[in-house]
């Protein structure tokens, strides 16, 4: 893999050299970034990692059905002739070439168009070449279904491996597929009847009525989960007289098994496929406590329109893939991608994964569900703890709000509280309970700290009040529906005039994800900007130059309120051109820029004032290669509506305390449609009359 990277790098350098790019280093990042993303699927087809069947004899046994020819009377419930007969039928049907069979084995084409299974766990295959041969895998799987159950222990002892279940228990979806292919052939009456205790327990626990695709909303204060997350909820059959209770459902998720705590290693391994991914199944309340309560994220559920047959296959398939490893890639083979491939394995009529780009982020996978007509039956919203708090707070009148604020600040009940009725007292205390959870979820889980003690007191107070709270009803915020947001990747074309040379320039931009402050806010968090992989190129004559590359940029505004005095912050990592060099072409500064400060929100005006801190390293900077800068930025966004937005900032920075850089920038954005916007930009430093078209 390293060799490939180096080769690809050389190749890419040659290609870019034609564009007269001055320096190698920013290009190196760019190339590396593209490689990590584009090549990930090629690397994905690594051969199964652990050799499960270590003994050569065992290998021989599985590899060759010759073994059955000699020993079938001992090991299988049917004769060799019978088994070869039905295998012949499957072969004649070309059943192993069917899309569903390949999907059940998670075969996908890689970049060099070979079909390989994405499962990197030998236990998933009955054949030692099953990861690359659907035919061989079908043959061995078929034979294994007829293994005698009472010989199973003996068989596995031979293999010197842990005791496993009979293939019938292990691969119910494969069995179902093969049976259907053979039109429920008589021979299946001769299948052994193993005791599938675990499988039964699994199916009984899930007891599915339907499946929902769940999206847990963005969490900008934590970049690792900033793009959201997707998983399934298996909706239990509703018993008579019992209303639906999500807490008792199950959540099935695909995630990386990170074996490092180092955030940097996590990012690198996540991008390069260094992790195993697995599916897990846990009670849904874990998900609710984790996302809704601890991280205060909204959960959006999309109930899927699957037939009963598809639903059964899907649950069978979850069971099959449950304990097995996949290679995990942050941006391509991630949770969202694997959710969709599981759906396709159960319902081959669906073709989501083919409609997706190589990179996929959770919001894209939600949107793709809607490309299939009537596939989403129902959309449900489950409010975060913050939304619950906001809702309770809004139910208080002005004097009660005052009581509340004074109480949570001093932790002493003001006298006015005593004049309230039990009902109103309850509403104040109910709000206090949510507020304490919001302030210190960590301490309350650990049962320590002042907020825990405060909450305990209030729980006692609340229990003594003779009033039963009403169920909190929070209407679905339609404008926040994640499926209604604009596309995450963006291409932009622009033209303008460079101030210093007064020469006309063309601009080209590409952004991998997700959105900036001026984009339409539908379905996205209101006060955050999160951009990943943002490239800006400009042309001079026939040459293309990289102007700016941002690995990521996060800007999180947390407007001040009576209750919250949270910092707003921003962090950008990447490289860009400066004018500190003799040779302007090579004047790249690599580094980061961060801001921490405060923001206020007044209806349609959002303003901020933030000190800045910047570090840049430039090979061709004059005098000093390392540049440190400090300064400040004041900014403003005026939202006339979701379509029209005006943005302005002024910034002053001192570089190495030697020279000052001052600048302002204004921009007007018209979001004509979800995927078409027009921007007019003027920037005091470099360009004027910039005109951008985003799509």
């Amino acid at each position: 893999m390293v060799l490939l990277l180096i080769l690809a790098n050389k190749f890419a350098n040659i290609r870019f050299a034609e564009f007269k790019l001055g320096t190698k280093s920013p290009i190196f990042i760019l190339v590396l970034f593209l490689q990590l993303c584009f090549f990930s699927r090629t690397f994905a087809e690594t051969e199964p990692k652990e050799s499960f069947f270590e003994e050569s004899e065992a290998n021989g046994f599985l590899k060759s059905s010759l073994y059955y020819k000699n020993k079938n009377s001992f090991y299988t419930t049917i004769s060799n002739r019978e088994i070869l007969n039905i295998w012949g039928k499957l072969k004649a049907n070309k059943s192993f070439q069917k899309r569903q069979w390949e999907k059940l084995l998670h075969f996908e084409r890689d970049l060099i168009l070979r079909k390989r299974s994405q499962v990197t766990d030998t236990r998933f295959f009955m054949s030692s070449v099953g990861y690359k041969s659907p035919e061989d895998e079908m043959k061995e799987t078929l034979f294994s279904f007829f293994w005698k159950t009472d010989k199973l222990n003996h068989l596995y002892d031979d293999f010197k491996v842990e005791k496993l279940q009979h293939p019938i228990c292990k691969f119910p979806a494969r069995l179902k597929f093969i049976k259907t292919e053979l039109n429920q052939n008589e021979i299946f009456k001769k299948l052994p009847i193993p005791d599938c205790y675990y499988q039964d327990l699994f199916l009984r626990s899930l007891n599915p009525q339907s499946i929902s695709f769940v999206f847990s909303s963005y969490y900008a204060n934590s970049p690792g989960s900033a793009f959201g997350h997707t998983f399934f909820r298996v909706n239990k059959k509703e018993k008579e007289g019992r209303k639906k209770q999500e807490l008792l459902d199950y959540g099935i998720s695909f995630a990386a098994n990170a074996h490092t705590d180092n955030p940097l290693m996590y990012a690198i391994l996540g991008l390069a496929g260094g992790f195993n991914g697995t599916y897990t199944n846990v009670p849904y309340y874990y998900k609710v406590r984790e996302y809704n309560d601890f991280e205060s994220r909204d959960l959006w559920s999309y109930e899927l329109n699957l037939t009963e047959d598809e639903l059964e296959t899907l649950v069978f398939h979850f069971w099959e893939i449950g304990p097995h490893f996949f290679t995990y890639y942050f941006f391509s083979q991630n949770c969202s991608y694997q959710m969709l491939t599981a759906l396709e394995a159960a319902a081959p009529r669906l073709s989501f994964s083919e409609r997706l780009p190589v990179f996929i982020i959770p919001a894209d996978s939600v949107k793709v569900l809607f490309t299939e007509k009537d596939f989403v039956k129902n959309v449900e919203f489950r409010p975060s703890l913050l939304k619950q708090f906001d809702s309770r707070f809004s139910l208080l009148d002005q004097s009660e709000k005052k009581i509340f604020i004074s109480y949570v600040n001093d932790q002493k009940l003001p006298l006015e509280y005593n004049h309230l009725t039990d009902e109103r007292k309850s509403m104040v205390i109910d709000t206090v309970l949510n507020y304490a959870d919001l302030k210190d979820p960590f301490g309350i889980a650990k049962r320590e700290g002042p907020w825990f003690a405060f909450k305990e007191t209030n729980l006692l107070t609340r229990a003594r009040l003779d009033f039963i709270s009403e169920e909190l009803k929070i209407p679905t915020p339609e404008h926040e529906r994640p499926d209604s947001s604009h596309p995450s990747s963006r291409v932009a074309l622009g033209s303008g005039e460079e101030k210093s040379s007064q020469s006309k320039k063309l601009f080209f931009e590409f952004r991998f994800a997700l959105h900036d402050l001026l984009d339409s806010k539908r379905g996205l968090p209101k006060f955050s900007q999160l951009e990943f992989g943002n490239f800006k190129f400009s042309t001079v004559g026939n040459s293309i130059f990289l102007d700016h590359f941002s690995f990521f940029k996060v800007l999180q505004l947390n407007p001040l309120s009576e209750l919250e005095k949270k910092l707003s912050w921003s962090m950008e990592v990447g490289t860009q051109r400066f004018d500190f060099c003799d040779s302007r072409i090579d004047c790249f500064g690599h580094g980061f820029k961060s801001m921490f400060g405060y923001a206020v929100d007044l209806n349609s005006f959002t303003m901020w004032l933030m000190p800045t801190l910047e570090y840049r390293y430039g090979e061709y900077f004059e005098k000093e290669r390392n540049h440190f800068a400090y300064g400040g930025q004041g900014g403003l966004i005026y939202s006339l509506s979701d379509k029209h937005r005006f943005y302005l900032f002024y910034e002053k920075q001192c570089f190495n305390a030697s020279h000052q850089v001052e600048g302002n920038h204004w921009e007007y954005r018209f979001n004509y449609q979800k995927n078409i916007s027009i921007s007019m930009i003027s920037s005091s430093q470099n360009y004027q009359g910039l005109f951008y078209l985003y799509f």
């Binding site: 626990s205 846990v282 304990p323 309970l433 169920e471 390293y617």
Partner: protein, 152 residues
């Protein structure tokens, strides 16, 4: 250059990048939220001492989590929903309390809610899950209308 990028990124120290989503296994030892370092495993780790050893047999070979006996289900439910359950009992109503009453197939939910609310202090006098479970089960209304003891 890459080295420098690496230094920058690690300087920023986004711990959250280490988030490990959805890894909440269920069952002995695995009952931790690995994506919530220091958060939920505090809640969850204690369960390992409570739940009977049979649970480990259920989860052998998979990372999945299934429904065993009613006591096991209630214990796990109370352990992991304790914060919300306390809120609900104190308020006299709520989804989490409703969930527990569903597990126990309570017939008269309203009277149970009312009675638990009045006895909040006794039920949660200790924060130990086992003692909370016992207190809930010995509540007179729960005994009258719910099946908190039998096997599911």
């Amino acid at each position: 250059m890459l080295k420098k990028m690496i230094v920058f990124v690690s300087l920023i120290g986004f711990h959250a990048l280490a988030a490990n989503y959805g890894m909440a296994g269920c069952g002995l030892g695995a009952l931790v939220f690995q994506d919530q370092p220091g958060k939920i495993q505090i809640v969850a780790a204690t369960l390992n001492n409570i739940v009977s050893p049979q649970t480990s047999a259920i989860t052998t070979g998979t990372s999945n989590c299934y429904e065993g006996s009613r006591d096991e289900v209630s214990l796990r439910f109370i352990e992991n929903n304790k914060t919300a359950l306390k809120d609900d009992v104190a308020r006299g109503q709520g989804e989490t309390l409703d969930g527990l009453m569903t597990i126990w197939a309570c017939k008269e939910k309203n009277s149970v809610q009312m009675n638990l609310k009045q006895n909040y202090n006794n039920i949660f006098e200790s924060n130990e899950t086992l003692s909370i479970l016992q207190n809930l089960k010995s509540n007179s209304e729960v005994q009258k209308t719910c099946q908190s003891d039998s096997q599911s």
